[in-house]
Amino acid sequence: MTRAQTASFILTPVKSVNVSMVSSWLRSAALPLLGILIFLGLWAVLAKNIDTSLGKFPGPSDVFTQAQVLIDEHGAQRSKADAFYERQELRNAARVAKDPSYSPTIRAFTGAPTFFDQIWTSLYTVTVGFLIASVIAVPLGILCGLSKASYAAINPLIQLLKPVSPLAWLPLVTMVVSAVYVSEDPMFSKSFITSAVTVSLCCLWPTLINTAVGVSSIDSDLLNVSKVLRLGPFSHVMKIVMPSSIPMIFTGLRLSLGIGWMVLIAAEMLAQNPGLGKFVWDEFQNGSSESLARIMVAVLTIGLIGFALDRLMLSLQKQVSWDKGAVLR
């Protein structure tokens, strides 16, 4: 063997390892990054060429600036609130010192909610709406999957109500909530309840349908095992039905949460629930030269949170799923 041959003999496998490492790195990081860069480039070029009545359409840099402004506004508002509470405390302490029988009233800070407060409101609202929907949809889906009769009874309603837009529900929900939820000292604001209920109405269906399909497609051998063991209805559901249909239930829940998050923004716009939807609406009404950039910040935030919620459900699914080998994406 010549020296060159020996060298190539040694080098070849090393080289191939390098190539595969590079290609896996390319696939996992570089290509998505490239996609994002191309998107940003196109956005910047196109934005420059769109003139609106509120000025040029914001490019990536305008949006980045506004994101920072929103963060600063949040900080400023927080320090205002802290200062307010500090002043209040001092004042109350002084009055109590003067007159020990005086019981101070604590007033809440009433400054406008910041972008981050609004994100929080939206997350809270969508969670409540989603939980209400799930608590109804999963048991109902199990019932539909177990009994053909109940499926036959409920299916037409599902098909009828599933395609209804949240915007169609909203006026009805608003009027019903105003009429029914009457209280001197309401625990929740009406706009919150209206938004949450609208979210629930729209994210019932994917969970309901997927749960029903999952339950009705359980391996017949497992059903026979349950029959031979004479499991009662409750243990049948808990020991056989639920574990078998967990993957389908979660597929439904993930679809529902995605829909719920989309619906929420529309619902908040119209119901004036102080979340991201209201933020977008207010900025639109405000119509300053920064409004479009601020809305764009909200759009990207909505996207990121939607993505994060889906990942959250996915990791939850991985936690509860018995089949650790299954590929979940």
């Binding site: 391996d219 051998d221 497992l222 026979n224 095992v225 029959k227 031979v228 063991l229 004479r230 499991l231 020991k239 056989i240 574990p243 018995w322 089949d323 080998g325």
Partner: protein, 284 residues
């Protein structure tokens, strides 16, 4: 016991509804099985062996006739007629131990927790699975899964153990091991067993009687062959035993001469051709 026989099938028949009217799958099945007997049902696929087993299990309801076990009519499935399914049908989210425990919890209301644990462990030991009690079904081999399935059935302390091609999905070596285990357990516990099989050697090796079924539709029992080989049986010694070979020959004759499947290879090919045409039409 007022009845002479432990398990009795009388004039059992079943019709399945089809769009073209009822299809008679089984008719006039009569079988009397004694306590502790090991019975094999053998026949070509589609002859209704599984249907007979499912009727005994209570998973299917006979259209005509009925099944009596220990003087009680069989109307619904229950643990006194435990089934070992062909595809193990363990709950994939439970470990071997938990799978057996589910059966034990369901069938032994009077036992204390410690007694239940002992009983679960005892049954897993019977099938030589003590080393893998905490494994999930996906983590053990097909033969081991079937062993756990058998342990689960035995743990129900059934009056009759029903086995639907229990070793059909296993390779030859694993199958031989499990057959030996079944013979051991049967010798120890003296269960009444009804087993479905495709395998002539398996039937002759394990059974006291082989019930041979005619081809469907309207399948019924064709012949019953008594296997009078001394137990314990040893597969190696029996290989050269003329009596064993005689029994084998009898079953083979029944299956491949008297009840030969009429469908020829050419007809089969034509059929599959038509089928593939159908599929392409569906796709279009």
């Amino acid at each position: 016991m007022t009845h002479k026989h432990h398990l009795e099938l009388t004039q059992v028949g079943i019709d399945f509804p089809t769009p073209k009217g009822p299809f008679t799958a089984l008719t006039d099945v009569n079988l009397r099985i004694n306590k502790g007997e090991f019975i094999s049902l053998i026949g070509h696929s589609g002859c209704g062996k599984s249907t007979v087993l499912n009727i005994i299990a209570g998973l299917h309801k006979a259209t005509r006739g009925g099944v009596i076990l220990d003087n009680h009519e069989v109307n619904e499935p229950g643990p006194e007629r435990a089934v070992v399914f062909q595809n193990h049908s363990l709950l994939p989210w439970l470990t071997a131990y938990k799978n057996v425990e589910l059966a034990v919890k369901q069938t032994s209301k009077g036992r204390s927790k410690a007694e239940m644990r002992d009983w679960v462990e005892h049954n897993l030991e019977l099938v030589h699975m003590s080393h893998a009690v905490d494994k999930l079904p996906a983590e053990i081999s097909g033969g081991m899964k079937q062993r756990v399935g058998i342990a689960r059935a035995l743990a129900m302390e059934p009056k009759v153990l029903l086995m639907d091609e229990p070793f059909g999905a296993l390779d030859a070596l694993t199958r031989a091991h499990l057959q030996d285990s079944i013979m051991e357990i049967h010798a120890d516990l003296g269960n009444t067993v009804v087993m479905i099989t495709h395998d002539v050697d398996e039937a002759v090796l394990l059974s006291d009687r082989i019930v041979m079924m005619t081809n469907g539709p309207s399948a019924t029992i064709g012949e019953i062959l008594d296997i009078e080989l001394a137990r314990p049986r040893d597969r190696l010694a029996l290989a050269d035993n003329p009596q064993y070979n005689h029994y084998r020959h009898e079953v083979l004759t029944f299956l491949y001469e008297k009840q030969r499947k009429v469908e020829s290879v050419a007809a089969h090919r034509k059929k599959s051709h038509v089928n593939s045409k159908d599929t392409s039409a569906n796709v279009a």
